[in-house]
């Protein structure tokens, strides 16, 4: 298999999945052939979803399984995954899957402080959604009847399942012998080897060596990381990380953070498949906040937590080679939710400032570790909900200064035209986003409540509050730290 053949295979896969946002293609031997991500968690959890599902349900051609369970390879409950089996060889009257496609959609989340994963909403363990291409009415009706299900969620899932089934036919044709997607074992092995070789060639940019870093999240909650990079192989060891109090991640999400944050330091776009995964070893002690156990809630860990962990991984790699050091980016997406008396819910979040690095000023108001573009419209929001947005723009002076300054955070003020319940949940480490090599720290995230008398009160990182008509909520996201001493 020549380099050009590998390139052609990669482009063929990119074409096939061009209109999918978050998708993975794996073999039933759990080798990841292709992965396209929207979030860091996708990088680790999509292959895990396929593996867990097929291990227990032994998918047949045309079977589609639904799950949103973070402890079965899912991530947020509002991001369910459909796993479809594709097979063409009939064995004893069955057509076992040879290829697994895991595709994720994003629905409206719930924002809040949750103690367990079941408090977050309806958790769906891997369940047969379609059987041999036909709807599984029993499961679909049961999901529809559940009080925590939003009817539009099931419709979105059904629509997505139909799209996957149409893709199955196309894939079967392409996967025939000598077709452009002939994924026989020998070809796959060569493809993964070529990926690993090309990936390793690019690792010169990262340098070799080891580093230790530690992040204190709150009293009694810390993450310890030892990174080792030698001969194109990475070892990330989280031994010593505490059990956690509010912030938890699953082990598969941690894989996503480690791989995603590492490849972000390389100039080239890296195709993610088993050839890349095998360059990483990750040790995450079970029961710690980097390998949470059921029934811990992972909502905060799989939103803001991803950003915090990614900052730490980048910091660890920066400790090996100074060229890669990067100031801390605003960690919280500042998610909040307003619920009105008629049951309408408005969920909002803000981009934050990115940390500066050598020769690069941080971007302002972005969600660095997500490619989900939320197209927010002031007029639409004001037409749909009893609120008036008083301002929405970059937060002045929120960036850390330096030779290269960090990006600015965002500020948004909302005046309520009706009473509402406010829920918010920001993961905010005790210190502000730090600068490096003499760069200044940025301002941290804040949320302020202004009552009818005009008195302003800064709120805690998370909580629940009843807001009266005419009162104003101001949400301010963090900026990014600066790099180097400002001359």
């Amino acid at each position: 298999m020549s380099k050009l053949d590998c390139q052609a295979l990669l482009e063929c896969l990119e074409n096939i999945f061009a209109d999918y946002a978050s998708v993975a293609m794996s073999t039933t031997e759990y080798q990841t052939v292709f992965l396209k991500y929207e979030t860091l968690a996708d990088i680790g959890t999509l292959p895990q979803c396929s593996e867990v599902t097929n291990k227990y349900l032994k998918l047949q051609d045309g079977d589609i399984v639904v799950t949103n369970d973070p402890y079965s390879g899912g991530t947020l409950l509002s991001s369910p995954t459909l796993i479809m089996g594709i097979g063409s060889k009939v064995v004893k009257g069955q057509t076992p899957a040879e290829i697994l496609i895991a595709s994720r959609i994003t629905l409206t989340p719930r924002v809040g402080e949750f103690k367990t994963v079941d408090d977050e909403g309806l958790r769906i363990p891997p369940s047969p959604f379609f059987i041999k291409g036909e709807k599984n009415s029993a499961i679909i009706e049961a999901l529809k009847a559940h009080p925590l299900t939003q009817p539009e969620s099931i419709e979105s899932l059904l629509k997505h399942a139909e799209k996957l089934l149409a893709l199955r036919e196309n894939l079967k044709t392409l996967m025939q012998n000598s077709g452009p997607l002939d994924l026989n074992k020998a070809r796959l092995r060569m493809y993964f080897d070529a990926t690993e070789n090309e990936f390793k060639k690019r690792l010169d940019d990262l340098g070799e060596g080891s580093s230790r870093s530690e992040l204190l999240l709150s009293q009694g909650q810390n993450i310890k990381l030892h990174v080792d990079h030698l001969d194109g192989h990475f070892h990330f060891d989280f031994s010593g990380t505490s059990q956690g109090d509010t912030l938890f991640m699953t082990d598969s999400a941690v894989i996503g953070v480690v791989v995603g944050a590492t490849i972000s330091l390389l100039k080239a776009k890296i195709p993610i498949n088993s050839g890349v995964y095998r360059c990483f070893d990750i040790k995450a002690p079970r029961g710690s906040l980097v390998n949470a156990t059921f029934p811990r809630s992972v909502y905060l860990g799989h939103t803001d937590g991803l950003n915090i962990f990614a900052n730490l991984v980048v910091q660890g790699l920066g400790g090996i080679h100074k060229k890669n050091s990067w100031a801390v980016s605003g960690p919280s997406q500042c998610a909040y939710q307003l619920t009105f008396s008629d049951g309408r819910r408005w969920i909002d979040q803000l981009g934050s400032g990115m940390g500066a690095s050598e020769r690069f000023t941080g971007l302002s108001g972005i969600n660095l570790w997500s490619r989900t573009h939320t197209n927010c419209s002031v007029e639409k929001i004001e037409n749909l909900y009893p609120v008036q947005i008083l301002n929405s723009g970059l937060r002045a002076n929120s960036a850390g200064e330096g030779r290269y300054s960090g990006g600015q955070g965002v500020v948004r003020s909302i005046k309520l035209n009706e009473d509402a319940d406010l829920h918010w949940c920001f993961a905010s480490p005790p210190h502000k986003p730090e600068g490096i090599h003499g760069g200044k720290a940025a301002m941290g995230a804040e949320i302020v409540h202004q009552n009818l008398a005009g008195e302003k009160l800064e709120l805690a990182n998370s909580g629940h509050l009843k807001i009266k008509k005419g009162e104003v909520i101001t949400v301010m996201s963090a900026g990014g730290g600066g790099y180097g001493i400002k001359i």
Binding site: L4, Q7, N375, S377, E379
Partner: protein
């Protein structure tokens, strides 16, 4: 004898057709050229001289130039007046351009200078009630600032202006009276204010350069135009665009509207132009929004999909291979390597490397033997580097990459709603014959098909 002229004006290429009488049987004069930056009038004058055209009774222009000015960020500095508190609103909503995670992500380019975005103390609420009326003293101050910076074109973008246009209207009247060219967002219809704001901005941003080019054309046309000559772009008089009575966006889709509405009513059509390849889905109805790189433009037009791979798409290093397509494009000056001066290999070079039988006026004569030789040598060098276990010649490499290009085009056709079989698509335009070799499908008309049809439409 009076002539009818049709002109398709692209960013670098212009195609002209002319007929000397009202009879369809008369021969048609055809001309295609790469025109010097901003000076299409010179090429028009040469066409008139060559064909001894001394009288023009009809002149019909189709173009997508305003869209190209936006894409290439060649517009003029403008000011944006927006509701106070929302000065950064458009900027913070720009999506990240880089699809993968990176330590140096890029946002889509922001064409407005932050210094020239002014927050105005005004507010209309969601019910359309004006909570804060514009204050003239604030406008006086703004005018002095704009004059200081010699800004002539202004976009006025207020929240809920569709519900109540009063504040935008007052500002527009005030600024117009002071000699500014003003575009208001309430001129456009969209439930998302950002689309309306960007549309007003697009008009202000493209006005100067676009009208300069039209003025240059008109200067030549006036020398030969009869007093009652009909000189139009889309359905509008060209002079009205120059005078600001018609906005740039009202004519920005004149090319695609012409192609789509005339030829894509019953068949899926892929227009294979030198500058761009556009797909028109049959049975399309005019739509109100056109997605650009980071926002939508609100103007009623015939829907089309721009193919991701264009003739000027650069070839560069991929993850595995040293030669694959990347997202950048070359400009037509110096152009592809085959033109002799270009340094970057492009899809155009691959398409025309071994083409000798297709004579495309104004294009194949630009291909130089020196350029062909240089590209062939480059390709052979790439092939040697990438040979691995399999021996591969430059031509084999070119064939493989063209196969990848065809696969990408097929994907785009499929995503745009064409059935999963590219052989059923109809191709037209100057590159149709060349593209057909790789994509299949069937070709209609010659390489002047669209511009000749334009002439037919005007007669």
């Amino acid at each position: 004898m009076a002539w009818s002229i049709g002109l398709h004006l692209g960013e670098s290429v212009m195609e002209l057709t002319g007929r000397s009488s009202q009879k369809h049987s008369d021969p048609i004069a055809k001309h295609r050229c790469f025109y010097p930056q901003g000076l299409p009038g010179t090429a028009l004058a040469q066409f008139f001289t060559k064909h001894n055209i001394t009288e023009v009774s009809q002149f019909e222009l189709i173009t997508n130039l305003p869209l190209k000015i936006i894409e290439s960020a060649h517009g003029s500095p403008i000011a944006v007046l927006t509701t106070l508190g929302f000065e950064n609103w458009l900027e913070i909503n720009l999506p990240i351009k880089t699809p993968h995670f990176t330590s140096q992500p890029e946002k889509q380019p922001f064409v407005i200078d932050r210094e020239f975005i002014f927050g105005v103390n005004e507010r209309t609420n969601a019910a359309g009630h004006i909570e804060k009326l514009i204050d003239d003293t604030e406008l006086e101050f703004l005018v002095s600032k704009l004059q200081l910076h010699e800004i002539k074109n202004v976009a006025v973008c207020f929240l809920h202006s569709l519900k109540n246009i009063e504040n935008e209207k007052r500002v527009a009247q005030y600024l117009t009276a002071k000699g500014f060219q003003v575009y208001v967002s309430s001129q456009h219809t969209s439930a998302d204010e950002k689309d309306r704001f960007w549309s007003a901005i697009a008009n202000a941003y493209t006005f100067k350069y676009y009208t300069e080019i039209l003025t240059h054309l008109m200067a030549e046309l006036k020398k030969v135009a009869l007093p009652d000559a009909k000189i139009t772009v889309s359905t509008h008089a060209v002079q009205d665009v120059i005078d600001g009575k018609v906005t740039p966006l009202q004519t920005a889709f004149s090319f695609s509207d012409f192609v789509g509405s005339r030829f894509a009513k019953t068949t899926d059509l892929l227009y294979c132009g030198i500058e761009e390849m556009l797909f028109f889905k049959s049975m399309g109805q005019p739509c109100d929004q056109q997605p650009m790189a980071s926002y939508n433009i609100c103007t009623s037009h015939w829907p089309f999909t721009k193919m991701r791979l264009q003739p000027a798409s650069k070839l560069g290093r991929g993850f595995f291979s040293e030669l694959t397509f990347n997202d950048d494009k070359v400009a037509f000056d110096p152009g592809p390597m085959l033109f002799g001066r270009g340094l970057n290999p492009t899809l155009f070079d691959l398409l025309f490397l071994s083409v000798t039988e297709n004579n495309i006026q104004g294009l194949t004569d630009k291909i130089q033997e020196r350029g062909r030789q240089r590209f062939t040598e480059s390709l052979a060098a790439y092939a040697r580097n990438m040979a691995d276990a399999q021996n591969s010649s430059g031509q084999q490499l070119a064939d493989k990459i063209l196969k990848m290009a065809a696969a990408k085009w097929c994907t785009d056709l499929k995503l745009a709603g064409h059935p999963n079989n590219s052989s059923t698509v109809t191709l037209c335009g100057p590159l149709a014959q060349v593209v057909q070799k790789h994509l299949k499908g069937h070709v209609v008309g010659d390489d002047f098909f669209i511009t000749t049809s334009l002439l037919g439409a005007s007669l």
